[in-house]
């Protein structure tokens, strides 16, 4: 496939995902996995997990995993195209809605849509957790880290970077 074709394909797919990203990047990760790993075969299951881990460990919005995916597939142009694709359409939609927002603010249907969308979003986020777990964890030790971090994050108020640092150390020592 020619590079320009690849870039256009990525732009189109991520732009479409952008408009369905209810709840942000955490909801669209399974779709990215479907597209780049299962359909196109651009990344292996494991590489996808590595890039996801990398984006988690770096400051900034975690949707920037798209920049890493794009970079891996097609270098800097790929990173730019994927990032613009994922942020552009949703940003444009937000801008357009905000301009008429005053008329609808606080109306009953606004609260209704929010209440109705929330459980669907939770289902998508948990699906992302499942997909990433299956991609990232190859040993029982790795599964134990995932489960431990999930439980500790829900039950304590410690900063998430602590868990990422401990897990990175365990991994570097070859324990996972």
């Amino acid at each position: 496939m020619k590079t320009t074709d690849t870039l256009l394909l990525m732009l189109g797919q991520f732009a479409l995902m952008s408009l369905f990203a209810i709840g942000g990047a955490n909801s669209v990760l399974p779709e990215m996995h479907r597209f780049v790993v299962e359909q196109q075969g651009w990344l292996t299951h494991q590489k996808f997990a590595e890039l996801f881990g990398l984006a988690q460990g770096v400051p900034g919005p975690n949707m920037l995993v798209v920049a890493l995916i794009g970079y891996h597939v097609a270098g800097l142009p790929g990173a730019l195209v994927c990032t613009i694709g994922l942020i552009g359409p949703s940003s444009l939609l937000t801008f357009l809605v905000y301009r008429v927002w005053d008329r609808f603010r606080g109306s009953a249907w606004q609260e209704l849509i929010q209440a109705a969308a929330a459980p669907v979003t939770v289902g998508l986020v948990l699906a992302t957790g499942y997909i990433v777990t299956m991609a990232a964890d190859e040993t029982w030790q790795a599964f134990a880290v995932t489960a431990g971090v999930a439980i500790l994050t829900v039950t304590t108020r410690a900063h998430p970077l602590i868990w990422l640092a401990i897990a990175a150390a365990l991994g570097a020592l070859g324990l996972l």
């Binding site: 909801s27 590595e50 990398l54 400051p59 890493l68 957790g129 997909i131 990232a136 999930a150 570097a172």
Partner: protein
């Protein structure tokens, strides 16, 4: 989001607390990263198109280059066993963080059978059936709105 709130509401006083909450709820209804959506509204309100570009530059442009920098390091040293091990550790922990985010979001819905059904449907369609996101979101969001409206109408 807590950082954004502290900066925009408490330190700079660009927005009142109520205005901030209002914008967050708008950002939640619409697709896309929440914090980006909120910043676009704030940017537009204070400086028009220039404000939107400033907001995107700060939130996306700078972190973008940081991430790419790490991506280059990863591409160079990613095959070194210890580095690869560290990334796998971070990925395992990152997966735990996403699960925790979902569980925390689900906490206020525990009492609602209707909410639990839609959580299970969303999870099953994407994680188990591996169906594409777009039709799943369209169908489930529409169904959820109809069911919620119907239940409220009966009260």
């Amino acid at each position: 989001m807590p950082f954004a709130r502290r900066m925009m509401v408490e330190r700079r006083q660009w927005l009142t607390a109520a205005e901030f909450t209002d914008l967050v709820s708008l950002g939640q209804i619409l697709p896309g990263p929440n914090i980006v959506n909120v910043s676009i509204c704030v940017g537009w309100r204070f400086a028009g198109a220039a404000g939107i570009f400033a907001a995107l530059a700060g939130l996306v442009f700078v972190p973008f280059w940081i991430v790419i920098g790490f991506g280059i390091i990863h591409a160079t040293y990613g095959e070194v066993p210890r580095v690869q091990g560290a990334f796998m550790g971070i990925a395992a922990a990152g997966a735990g963080l996403v699960i925790a985010t979902g569980l925390k979001m689900a906490r206020p819905m525990i009492g609602s059978i209707q909410a639990l059904i839609f959580i299970v449907l969303g999870f099953g369609a994407i994680a188990i059936m591996r169906w594409p996101l777009m039709p799943v979101v369209l169908v489930l969001a529409t169904l959820s709105i109809l069911v919620t409206a119907w239940i409220r109408g009966r009260r």
